[in-house]
Each structure stands twice: as structure tokens, then as C-alpha cells.
Amino acid sequence: MSELASESFKTVSASTIELGAGVPAIALRGVIGLTGAGIILVLAGHGIGGPALILIGLAVLMSMAVPASPAPALLVLLVAVSVVAIGGSPFAPHVLLLVPLVHLVHVSCALAGLMPTRSRVRLSALRAPAIRFVAIQAGVFALAGLMAVAPTGTVPGALEFVAVAGIAAIAIILWRLVYRAL
């Protein structure tokens, strides 16, 4: 398929594209499904029971069917609740595996929500989102590494206050960014 796509989508120059067959956009929904299946497998392997898995499975199916809906958000929240329920170390392999999977569901749903099911995708269109995904994941794993080596114990109240104030500041900055963008 990728060979067909690369043949059919000829790039005449850097800014000129000759349109070809491309990859069916439904493949993006396939990525959502596969990622959802990966999440379910990880959670099932760490003791999450049947009803919760059924709920998560339904959220995955809904995310595949209607990516531009609250279903992916529900999936993210269910995974977060499951991670809290599993407990254990925050740097356990299953948590570190779920971090990119949840992010991938988020990005795949964002892209799939733009396109009708019968549309076509030029693979080079996904290059920038893929680079950004890798960069963000690299940042998050660096943060995880910092958190892992940071000293544990009782956090001073002042530091707690600074952290919460930081979250509030991030919220305000994000709000301003969105407001300025739209």
C-alpha cells in the first residue's frame, strides 16, 4: 500500500503535488482501534476486571466510529481511573506504555475526526504530527526520568502551593493561547 501511495502521490516540486490514490482515511480509525486494543491488553494484564474493560472497549469502539465526539475523552478518563485503581509505581512499565498509547489515541482521533471515512490520506501529511508526537513523548519521558530521580518524601506546603499555582498559570496561558488563536 505504501509503495502504491508513494508511486501515486508524486511530488513534482517541494510545493507542488500531483494527486494520487493515497491511503484510505479509514486506516486512521484502524490505528485508533489497534491503539485501543493495546490499552485494553495492558490494563487486562494488570488486573482490571471485566466490566471496566467492557466500558473501555465500548469507548474504543465509539472513538473509532465517531472520533470527533466525547468518546476519546471518556476513554482517556477511564484509562486514568484504571491506572489509579491499579496503583503501584508511577514509573512501572505498564504506566509508561499507556502514556504514548493514550497520546496516540488522542492524536489519531483528532486527525480522523477531520476526514470523511471515504477520503484519502497522503502519508507525507502525517509527517509533522508524527514528529510532534515523538518530540512530546521524548519530553514526557524526560520528565518521568526527572521525577524518578527526584527525592521522595513529604512535600513542603509552600512547594505544593507553587505547584497548584503553576497549574493555574498553565490553565490561564492555555486559555489565552486558545482565545488568541480563535
Binding site: 494527486l19 508511577p90 483528532a110 475526526g113 497548584v164 497549574i167
Partner: protein, 459 residues
């Protein structure tokens, strides 16, 4: 203040503000569900993770928060322009469609609907916003008229978190003209008022074919004197060229002819009888009677216009769509365009119409029809009774396939063909020959026979 879409201007200020906000969201850049998800879930998970000392939640929420922060950008006002294209094209050819996209500096993705290979508006293609020119090759394999391009588009920012659109593109129609082929032409009845052409007239004139040799009269040109006959006549009276011995060669005038192509557009049937009641997928049924009829009419018009005749078109199903007889290349283009229009409006009426004013005196009329009903046979017989040479061109695909999902399929087909045979026999008794459409050889033969029968040669 000018009220926006959905506003009359009399609403309370707060309603106007809400509607304006909503319209701004719909018309300009707006955040998607993914932006809300990234911001709310990311911020929520990070906040709860910090507050409840759950680093796992912080790690889960951080990518979503980062994605939302990076994606909330406004790339500018995008613009998509399609380069102008010809309105009409030839069947079997291909061409390039070019779209110029100005997505804005920080846009990342463009989803645009463009045709590819097949006719139709095509699917939506997701492309990188760095592409400023998108080209697609379209091949026109079937004649007809339809919407070819509607460049619906949507421009998205990073990760598709903010979008502009979808914007419905302007519809652009394209007329694919039926192909021009040539058939073997047959002789047509010459036009009484014709002055030039390839058909021998009854009148004397300046043609090439000998009509008569007669004594010289005042006004005859000297170059027409037949010296051999004149000298022989002079020898018979003593050897001197006395008055009455000079003879001239008289030739036939050569004139053009008028041909009226009467196309029956009321029905469009294919070879499979079971599909006759099902509407065709495209403008016409490929290989069906209307397709054959339009191709035949184009070939006949091209052939006779090439030899200088006057050709007109009558749509039996929609009389207002005809083309008056005319000559020249522009007339051929006019007829081809009109044939596509006739096919688009096919099935307009149940009864065929061919008024006497639509047929010039002395014109040959070719009735292109499936002859599946009596009305068209009556109409052809009436035209023949008015003195026109009428020939039927049978457009029914051959052989017909009976309907398979009913035990009555064979019987129905047998009845249908028997009725049609009777109808064609009745036409024959009115002096109307009917031929199946082919390469034109049978038509040339029929025209030659008709000319002999009508005594044009002896005229």
C-alpha cells in the same frame, strides 16, 4: 450594525452576541473536540495528579496538555483557488486540474475534495499544508454533462486541533462532448434553394455530370460548346456551322442537401430488459439506446456537414431543444453541445413531437429511435406523407437479454419484439425503411435506393 447570518437585527443584544460568537466559530478558525479534550483532560489529569500526588496521572495528562498548547495557533485566512478550465472537452481526452492553496503560515493540514481519474467531484484528500499547488489528471471517458469539481476544503492547524471550514467549494460543471466519427455518406435529396454542394440537382447548372446536349441558345457560354457534336451536325447539313448546328453540353447543378436528425430522447434502454425500469447511474446508460443515438447523430452530422450539407437536430422528446438546419463546423459544435443538453433533459415527455415547421421542405429526415411505441411510428409516417424522405435508424441494442428474475421474461421479450416487428412493417408500407445503426453502409444503400425510387436521377 449589519446583522450577521441568522440575525434580523431586532434580537436582544445578548442574543446577538451569542449568535455572533457562534457564527465566528463556524465561519473562521475554531477549536475542535480534540482541542477541548487536550486542554480539559490534560489540564485536569495534571492538576489532579499534582493535587492527589499521583505522578501517573501527571504523566498521562502531560502529552495532552502539551499537544493542546502547541496546537492552539491561528494560521491566518486560507484561500483555495481553482485555475480556470475550458467549459467543454472532448470524450476520450484527459487534462490537468490545478488548485492553488494558500493555507496560511502555521497551517499543517489541508483536506480538499478533488477528482482523480474518474469523472465526479472525487473524494477528500488530506494533504500537507506546505503544498501550494495540487494537480490532478482527469480523464473524460464518457460524454455527458455533470458536476466535475467542487473543491470543498478544510484547513487545519497542528494535530487538527483548530480548523478553518469546512468550506463548500463552488460547483463547476463540465460538458464532455460526444466523439466525432464519420460514416459512409449516401446521396441526399438536393435542396431546391441550394447553390453549392455535392448533391446533383434536377436543375441545370455548373456541375460536372452531363445532363443533356442541346442546340446553342442565346446566353450559353462558349466554353460549353461541344465541338465534336457541333461539327458532326454541321457535316450533316453541308459542312458549314450554320445556326442550329452549334450544340452545347448542359450539366447538372450541384447543390447541398438538408438533413434533419430527429432523435427520440424519451427512452434510454440497454440490452438487458430487466434493467429498463431502473434509472441509469450516470447521465445516460453506457451502450444504451440514447448513447447509441447521440453517437449516431454526431457521426451523421459530422459526415454530412463535412460535405457541405445543412444539418439540423430535432429532439422528439423536447421540441424546444432542437437546432435549426445550418452548415459548417460551428453547426457541428452546436449540435454536439445540444445533444448533451438533450440527453440531460431526456425523458421530459411521454409523446414525441415533430411539427411540420421543424422540417424544411424537401429535407431528408432520419428518425433515430428505438421504435418501442406506436407514437413515434405515427410521427414518422406523417412526416413521410408530407413528402419528406424519412428513414428510421433503429437504436435498440441488439441482442436483447430477457429479464431473468421472472418466468415471464422470455415471453415478454417475444411479445415486445413481435409488436416492434409489426410496427416496422407498417413503416415499410409507408415507404420508410428502417435500419440498425452501424458504420453507415446500410444507410448509404437505403439513401441510394430511395433516390432512385424518387426519380431524382431522371429529374
Amino acid at each position: 450594525m449589519i446583522p450577521g447570518p441568522g440575525l434580523t437585527g431586532r434580537e436582544p443584544r445578548v442574543v446577538r452576541w451569542f449568535v455572533a460568537r457562534r457564527n465566528q466559530g463556524l465561519l473562521g478558525w475554531r477549536g475542535t473536540d480534540a482541542l477541548a479534550r487536550g486542554a480539559v483532560c490534560g489540564l485536569g489529569l495534571v492538576g489532579v495528579g499534582l493535587t492527589l500526588h499521583q505522578p501517573a496521572l501527571l504523566l498521562l495528562g502531560a502529552p495532552l496538555l502539551a499537544s493542546a498548547a502547541l496546537g492552539a495557533v491561528a494560521p491566518g485566512v486560507p484561500k483555495v483557488v481553482m485555475q480556470p478550465r475550458p467549459r467543454a472537452v472532448e470524450e476520450g481526452r484527459s487534462g490537468l486540474l490545478t488548485a492553488t492553496i494558500d493555507a496560511g503560515a502555521r497551517a499543517e493540514l489541508v483536506a480538499i475534495r478533488l477528482p482523480r481519474a474518474a469523472v465526479g467531484v472525487g473524494p477528500v484528500h488530506l494533504l500537507p499544508a506546505s503544498a501550494t499547488t495540487v494537480r490532478t489528471r482527469v480523464r473524460w471517458d464518457a460524454w455527458g454533462d455533470g458536476v466535475e469539481l467542487r473543491a470543498d476544503h478544510l484547513v487545519a492547524g497542528p494535530d487538527g486541533l483548530v480548523v478553518f471550514g469546512p468550506v463548500v467549494g463552488a460547483e463547476s460543471r463540465r460538458m464532455v462532448l460526444p466523439p466525432v466519427t464519420f460514416v459512409r455518406p449516401g446521396p441526399l435529396p438536393p435542396r431546391a434553394a441550394g447553390l453549392v454542394g455535392v448533391h446533383r440537382s434536377r436543375r441545370p447548372g455548373d456541375g460536372t455530370e452531363l445532363r443533356d446536349i442541346r442546340p446553342f441558345q442565346a446566353g450559353d457560354r462558349l466554353r460549353r460548346v461541344d465541338w465534336r457534336v457541333s461539327l458532326r451536325a454541321a457535316a450533316a447539313v453541308g459542312g458549314d456551322l450554320v445556326p442550329g448546328t452549334l450544340h452545347v453540353r448542359e450539366r447538372h447543378a450541384e447543390t447541398d442537401a438538408e438533413l434533419v436528425l430527429a432523435l427520440d430522447t424519451r427512452v434510454d434502454v440497454g440490452a438487458d430488459v430487466g434493467e429498463w425500469s431502473i434509472e441509469a447511474a450516470g447521465a445516460v446508460r453506457a451502450g444504451g439506446s440514447l448513447d447509441i443515438g447521440v453517437r449516431a447523430a454526431t457521426a451523421l452530422a459530422a459526415t454530412y456537414l463535412r460535405q457541405g450539407d445543412r444539418v439540423g437536430l430535432v429532439d422528439l422528446g423536447s421540441p424546444r431543444l432542437g437546432v435549426l438546419p445550418g452548415s459548417g463546423h460551428r453547426q457541428l459544435e452546436r449540435i454536439r453541445h445540444q445533444l448533451v443538453t438533450c440527453a440531460r433533459n431526456a425523458g421530459w415527455t411521454s409523446r414525441p413531437v415533430l411539427r411540420p415547421v421543424q422540417i424544411p421542405h424537401g429535407a431528408a429526415v432520419l428518425v433515430l429511435s428505438t421504435f418501442l411505441d406506436d407514437a413515434v411510428a405515427d410521427l414518422a409516417a406523417r412526416a413521410a406523407r408530407r413528402g419528406n424522405l424519412v428513414i428510421g435508424i433503429d437504436l435498440l441494442p441488439h441482442p436483447l437479454v430477457p429479464q431473468r428474475d421472472t418466468p415471464w421474461g422470455d415471453a415478454v421479450l417475444g411479445m415486445l419484439l413481435a409488436e416492434r416487428r409489426v410496427r416496422l412493417d407498417a413503416l415499410r408500407t409507408h415507404g420508410i425503411a428502417t435500419i440498425a445503426w452501424g458504420d453507415g453502409s446500410p444507410l448509404a444503400g437505403v439513401l441510394r435506393r430511395a433516390r432512385r425510387r424518387r426519380g431524382v436521377l431522371t429529374g
